[in-house]
Symmetry: C2
Subunit: 370 residues, 2 copies
């Protein structure tokens, strides 16, 4: 058999060494060299792929943390491979939807070569006249999250007012741009009261650094991403007053990324028949008990609709999404910034950088230029 003559190749891998407590550190991960035979087992319907780009996402922290409560992302185990979204080239296919040479994006391993056992969760890349790395974010899960959350969950109408918290985040900055292109009035906040930062070492030094980062983010929202207005939560003593200032007539749509005090303040400013899409509640995840939300009677007074969503429920809209967004990218209507790190061996540092806000734009790791 041909397979018996094939050489096993080196497969560098990033492994979780220990569960993360607080924020991920370099020492929570390690590089391991493994070997892999580049062929599929007889009868497999999997895919053997070569990884090209990997996505660094904040949610990965939760998968690296010892699970205690049910979570919507499965936890990694110490000693096992980190996985995440990436772009890869198919080397061998046992699945009818993919053939050798195809490009795809989807869940893959933080390693050089991966055996994908659930090819039905991957998307074939058909449009290659954009940077391939975009499929780790703008044209992948991040972009679809912003698109589905805004257009499907928020049911926007032209001319409506839109507020986005954590608006400088990967999803938030796209929601803002989609909303502007659609014809809405858009305001974003950055530097929301993520208490989690307090658990970082050298908190006081970092606090000063964060102040500068958040000021920069507010500037980016207004001057780079084209938001109508933006504010820095760290500088606002009274979130309710900040929202009233930005939205004297109230908020039609709130795209929720942070939860806690921000949600409570937003409820006071929502307009009649306002809609809230809950994408995340980043300010709450590190708290022993989440903060209480007190202003819920506004749901009745203002007939508010609020809905939590997960992007995987909306992947059937992916072709429609591409139809909308690809032309906007080609016409330069969407601003998308990537921060690229070369080499799998630098992936842990790139991931950790997310939590100190070191990256500018979407953090991508280049595993191979082929």
């Amino acid at each position: 058999m041909a397979g018996e003559n094939e050489e096993a190749v080196r497969d560098k891998q990033v492994i979780l060494r220990d569960y993360v407590s607080g924020f991920p550190k370099d020492t929570n991960m390690e590089l391991r060299e493994s070997t892999m035979k580049l062929r599929l087992l007889e009868g497999s319907n999997g895919l053997l792929v070569k990884n090209l780009y990997l996505s660094c996402d904040p949610y990965m922290k939760f998968r690296m943390t010892k699970p205690d409560v049910p979570d919507y992302v499965q936890a990694f185990r110490p000693g096992s491979l980190i996985t995440g979204y990436g772009v890869a080239r198919v080397l061998e296919s046992g699945h009818p939807d993919f053939k050798k040479g195809d490009l795809l994006w989807g869940l893959t391993g933080w390693e050089e070569y991966t055996l994908i056992t659930a090819p039905e969760t991957c998307f074939k890349i058909e449009h290659t006249n954009v940077p391939l790395s975009y499929y780790t974010g703008l044209l992948g899960k991040t972009g679809m999250t912003a698109y589905a959350g805004f257009f499907e969950v928020c049911s926007p109408k032209k001319g409506e007012t839109v507020f986005i918290s954590a608006a400088s985040g990967a999803v938030g900055q796209l929601v803002g741009q989609f909303a502007k292109l659609f014809g809405c009035y858009v305001v974003g906040s950055a530097g929301s009261k993520e208490k989690s930062y307090c658990s970082l070492p050298n908190f006081i030094v970092l606090k000063v650094a964060f102040a500068a980062i958040f000021a920069k983010k507010v500037d980016l929202l207004k001057n780079k991403f084209g938001f109508d207005d933006a504010f820095n939560c760290k500088e606002e003593l009274d979130l309710d007053a900040a929202l009233k200032r930005c939205f004297p007539e109230g908020i039609d749509i709130y795209f929720e990324n942070v939860g806690g005090k921000m949600l409570d303040a937003v409820l006071l400013s929502m307009k009649l028949h306002g809609r809230i899409a809950i994408c995340g509640m980043i300010s709450q995840y590190n708290l022993e008990q989440p903060e209480g939300i007190h202003n819920l009677t506004n749901f009745i007074l203002k007939r508010i609709r609020m809905e939590g969503f997960v992007v995987s429920d909306y992947y059937h809209l992916y072709p429609k999404f591409l139809e909308t967004v690809l032309p906007q990218i080609k016409e330069g209507k969407i601003v998308y910034v990537e921060d690229t790190t070369e080499g799998l061996e630098n992936a842990p540092t790139a991931l950790i950088g997310l939590f100190s806000g070191r990256n500018v734009g979407k953090q991508v790791v280049v595993v191979s230029h082929e």
Copy 2:
């Protein structure tokens, strides 16, 4: 002119004497005798009606309270007439939709005769082969609230699990019956932690009385209204455990009448893609600061949709509602209990009785048998 020969008739009225603080008392209202000429002014498009039945509703308490925050019901003023939903006979009509002799239901005065200045908010009664008093509740605002909240806001599917808080209330008992007739599994709670009762005088004595009332209500839910199960919140130390016991597989639909701790517990038991319709939050209205809700991250984990609603947004569905409910009433499929008080002079006592749970079923005041 004919009008000059008309005698002015006596018009007994119920007046708000003082703003209510805590719960309404007899002394907050008084009876006044006025006179009224039974004719419309030339060119008026109003209706002159004779009131037959008046509805006593818990929400009226809020209209009797001095307003401090914006509210969704307009406050009465001391010295002025109490108004509410009722059934009346048209004596004179200046509006093309109504003629002399018609029956209607809608907002009217707590008096013998009323000049209705906004006839467009009233509904002509076309079906009189049911008790006319039903149009103060089951076939009026209460029924429409239950119908719109359940069928429009909750988007139910046959076989789904439905939980209703304050289920023995006027709306709750109808939601439960609509849900059962539709093919759902229905559980209700009674005696929810309405802290408001604590502000009543003689609290300890009342506590004992309430225990009996709530036990009775749970019994009614199961044995009279056909709920699959019911529990008494006052007897449950752990609401989460009670819900887990009643819904081992979780809750698809929550019809929210109470808010606070109950909502927080329900969020833990909601199923994937669960829906919550917020009709009221009775446990929160008398608190200085509403209780905090902590379990909102479940909105993301379970893709929950929650929506506040007000019945007036759904009145266009009234004909469809009658089409559904009238046959069910005639076939005896809906249990509806009324507690009737004779005479306008007894209306204040009937209204006050609501807040000590004295009434059994919908509290109606008969102003006139014609």
